[in-house]
Symmetry: C4
Subunit: 228 residues, 4 copies
């Protein structure tokens, strides 16, 4: 069963690269087997086009490597904090995609300006506070902690993205593939928000009732997007 997860996580990482979101080796996707409490993640610093399922690294929720011969992504500890805090999620993706990173660097939320955004993210995409100097000691885990701090009281599947201030986006979903699709959607809505505010710095946020409507078309019991 872990073999199936390795294949899915490998495929999701390759999809991430094909989507143009990950320059060089900047980006990583993981998936979790909740029953066993094991996470499968991309190895650190390996080019995407060379990735095969056998390269994937298996770690437990405390970060102990239990399978694979390579070092896991340096961002593994961040992924693990998210899996421990957000029990509904099955996959996590981190990128430095261009426009989402611009918002992260400007330390601005991505405002919800249209239905493209509403279809994927239920309101403005939040930004964390910066890490304090003392928090660099346990850097990757603390990056996860400020995400969880920022997303307290938020349904992680209704807002499956966050921007880490001065760093870049993390997205998640029900599985690894969905976390990649959310990374793609995030980049698109960030680019559109940038251009919309260039056209009109006071462009209004989407009407709350349209946000509600689009969210419910795709999420929850009354969803009617896609196939049954």
């Amino acid at each position: 069963m872990l073999d199936a997860l390795r294949e899915k996580v490998c495929a999701a990482n390759r999809q991430l690269a094909r989507s143009g979101l990950a320059v060089l080796t900047w980006g990583n996707t993981s998936g979790i087997d909740r029953e066993r409490g094991l996470v499968v993640i991309k190895p650190s610093g390996i080019p995407y086009e060379q990735l095969e399922p056998g390269h994937m690294v298996v770690v437990d929720l405390d970060g102990k490597v239990t399978g694979g011969e390579l070092r896991p992504s340096t961002d593994t500890a961040t992924h693990l904090v998210l899996y421990r805090a957000f029990e509904q999620i099955g996959g996590v993706t981190h990128t430095h995609s261009r426009c989402a990173t611009m918002f992260a660097q400007a330390r601005c939320e991505i405002p919800c300006l249209g239905t493209t955004h509403a279809d994927h993210f239920y309101g403005p995409v939040p930004v964390t506070r910066p890490l304090a100097e003392a928090e660099t000691a346990d850097y990757e885990a603390n990056t996860g902690r400020i995400i969880v701090e920022r997303c307290a009281n938020v349904d992680p599947l209704a807002m499956p993205a966050v921007l880490v201030a001065g760093h870049g986006p993390f997205t998640w979903g029900r599985d690894a593939a969905e976390s990649v699709r959310n990374a793609v959607a995030l980049e698109a809505v960030a680019e559109m928000a940038l251009g919309t505010r260039q056209l009109d710095p006071r462009a209004p946020e989407l009407e709350a009732y349209i946000l509600e409507k689009h969210h419910r078309r795709k999420h929850g019991p009354a969803a009617y997007y896609g196939q049954a």
Copy 2:
């Protein structure tokens, strides 16, 4: 004969994806058989690279599915309103293409700043009003209705595009393929208008007589663009 339409609509949807206008599954193209009153449209939420003619869904002008085994696009009701109102058109395309969506989100017309625009759109591309809260009840059909409201007294083949406020563009044409070409043209003129106004916020609209000249080069009895 419906088989031929399925093939054309499938090919138009695949062309839409190849043109880079449709991220993930955000976009759909349909075509109509006016004699039978049947519309062929992309199924909802299926990746473009997997689309085959047999996946296309057939609906009548009241939205009743009469062929195909999948659910039609969630935007089907919008397409149907357009086919009922604009009798000259044979194809409709909806996308969330980047720059056209920026204008839709900023709720700005796309001004006619050059001959690229004039070749395809006879004047500024209009924007609808936002939907009222009560109109979310019959959301997709009402999206079509505010388009028709905005385009009243406009020749739909002279202005084959509209921006839905806070949402994105719809385009149409004599058939499905032409509606896709108009979506491509719309995205290009939107990107150019954004950059032109960045260079000079007071860049002038194209002279009316040049708009007229370019429109008549491609449209109407004296057209001389393309092959006979």
Copy 3:
């Protein structure tokens, strides 16, 4: 011998499409056989991927079609005016490439802000005046005439580009392939100029002595760029 020119012009048109400068069918390249006074040009409205040498149209310098079975590009009369006025040139390319068209629509010269520009264009790239209403009668030829008017007293091989106000760029060169390379260079320097002025609206023009140096590295008797 005209067969060789047909092949070169066809290849140059396909290169134009591969370079990403020509959306849909917006762009055309031609080449001239000066000895015979015959111009080979792309047919009107044919998709680039279908172009074959046999589709190319042959016209004399007065615009009479002397070979080929298709209609020539609607812009043929503009090309012919340029060939008659600029005796040194052997190829002409017209596009609606994104950033060059933004400058044409803003009716701004492209300032020479760096050596990329200096390597190809000896100073700011000029913009024509708009056509007067009466000039729409013989529209394509008059487009050529306002280009020639604007480029009077300019060496066409030192400044192988112009922007037609409200329309887009024309480039030329010693042959069809070089006119395409100049179209590629023009688009790149337009994009860079747009971004440079976004970073600093008062970014300075390149020092005149650096412009001179780069121009002479690539052009004239002391050129030392490329192979002997």
Copy 4:
């Protein structure tokens, strides 16, 4: 052994073209064999897709061609100055990549606004002064000299990039391939900085302790990025 270097330098040049950083023939990569004091570099003006290892040119550190049948890149003298001044480096890349060139033309440093930047460049990427008129006499070598002047007292592997005012970027690294990866990283951080400052002209520089942390994750004895 020089054959191996020819292959690596050829592959690095082809990688440069595939990365989309080099339009037409604008860009070149070299590598050095420190034991023999020989530099292998791209020939001048040859299209990337035609490059083969046998086309690479070998020059000594004084610029004398000692192998290969083609002329070396016109920028060879600049590369040689860098190899002589920066003893730790093994490869050099020059491009006119879009966003890095915008900063070079605006004569602005690229500020360090996020961890993407910090992972590759230890602080703001510097800009040279413009060349003086007298310095155009020995143009390419003097371009190298103003780079070295600007980078005095800087560890070239901690800051493996510079912008030449009014021209474009040079990057370097432990070998040719790393100099290309740094060119890719530089373009990405330049694009992100441009967009970040568009969102907020006062977006803050990255906290110094985060810069320090990210730098040490990838560089120096305590680095833990990538495989052992």
